[in-house]
């Protein structure tokens, strides 16, 4: 299966990257944006989807400080740039 894993800092843990992005927005004229949190996204293809949770806890995320979410990737068409036409 194709999947996407979303990893984000746990609630309550200071996310300095999110703070920096949030502080930069008003300078560009974007007002009213708050609670910005920056995480990361991992795309993968797994032969055995059942292993995904273990894989996340042992490597992709550090469960002490990060939450993760496994999303089945629906279709490649939803991926921006997947067609190649937009790529430079």
């Amino acid at each position: 299966m194709k999947a996407r894993v979303l990893i984000r800092p746990k609630e309550g843990i200071l996310d300095p990257q999110g703070k920096a992005v949030e502080r930069a927005l008003p300078a560009l004229g974007f007002e009213g944006v708050s609670q910005v949190r920056v995480g990361r996204m991992v795309e993968l293809e797994a032969e055995n989807g059942a292993d995904l949770k273990r894989l996340c806890e042992q490597l992709l995320a550090n469960p002490l400080v990060e939450d993760y979410e496994i999303l089945p990737a629906t279709s490649s068409a939803s991926r921006p740039g997947a067609s190649g036409s937009d790529e430079v």
Binding site: I13, L14, P16, Q17, A20, L60, N62, L64, V65
Partner: protein, 224 residues
């Protein structure tokens, strides 16, 4: 006695670590693919950017064959010291409690700090006095040690907080000013500051020597 200093692709402080170890004993580099620690009495995991710090600092290095050997060595009570990236690796490997997060200021830090020795009975601090101040440099991007409140309380109760930044000198936002911790038995110790860069008055301080002397002493006692 003989130190083994681990070397991963991306390590960068292993040579200073070897030089520091050689002030108190013999030392050799241990390449990350090596599967045994034969002839090694104490292990130092040095700083740097093992495997490019991909994913999270220390996340990939923990799977190196040499780290499996280190886990067994630690289980047998062998003295292990993780410095900076080595500390991150030990936390990721579950050999030390807590996690290292990006500095609260998001900047790479490089400065001299004062450390307070909280627990002077670990493998890396036995030749220090409790409350002793050590002047040692820090240089890191992800040095904000974190543990949730319950875990922090457990660690304080078990004397597993080994070093704190001196009051007002916490450079990175670490919880409770923690600069270094140990495992329950006190034979595995990790800290963000760099004692291996403070072993000669030429560089401003030789306070870091005490950690290497402690490891050497513990290793000799363990053999005897």
């Amino acid at each position: 006695m003989r130190f083994g200093v681990l070397q991963f692709p991306g390590s960068c402080d292993e040579r200073d670590a070897v030089l520091a170890c050689e002030r108190v004993g013999e030392a050799e580099l241990v390449w990350h693919e090596r599967e045994d620690l034969d002839g090694i009495d104490a292990v130092v995991i040095p700083g740097g950017f093992s495997y490019g710090d991909y994913l999270r600092a220390g996340a990939i290095a923990r799977f190196a064959p040499a780290m499996e050997a280190v886990a067994l060595f630690a289980e047998d009570g062998g003295p292990v010291l993780g410095i900076c990236n080595g500390f991150q690796v030990l936390c990721e490997a579950g050999l030390l409690p807590g996690a290292l997060l990006p500095n609260d200021g998001l900047r790479f830090l490089c400065r001299q700090v004062e450390l307070e020795v909280v627990n002077a009975s670990t493998a890396a601090t036995a030749s220090c006095e409790p409350g002793e101040r050590l002047s040692v440099p820090v240089k890191h991007m992800s040095g904000r040690w974190f543990a949730p409140p319950e875990l922090l309380a457990d660690l304080e109760r078990n004397d597993q907080i080994v070093f704190r930044y001196a009051p007002g000198q916490n450079p990175n936002g670490s919880v409770a000013d923690v600069a270094g911790v140990c495992n329950e038995r006190g034979n595995v110790v990790g800290l963000m500051p760099h004692p291996e860069h403070a072993v000669d008055p030429l560089t401003g301080s030789d306070d870091g020597l005490a950690l290497f002397a402690s490891l050497a002493q513990r290793a000799v006692t363990a053999v005897a």
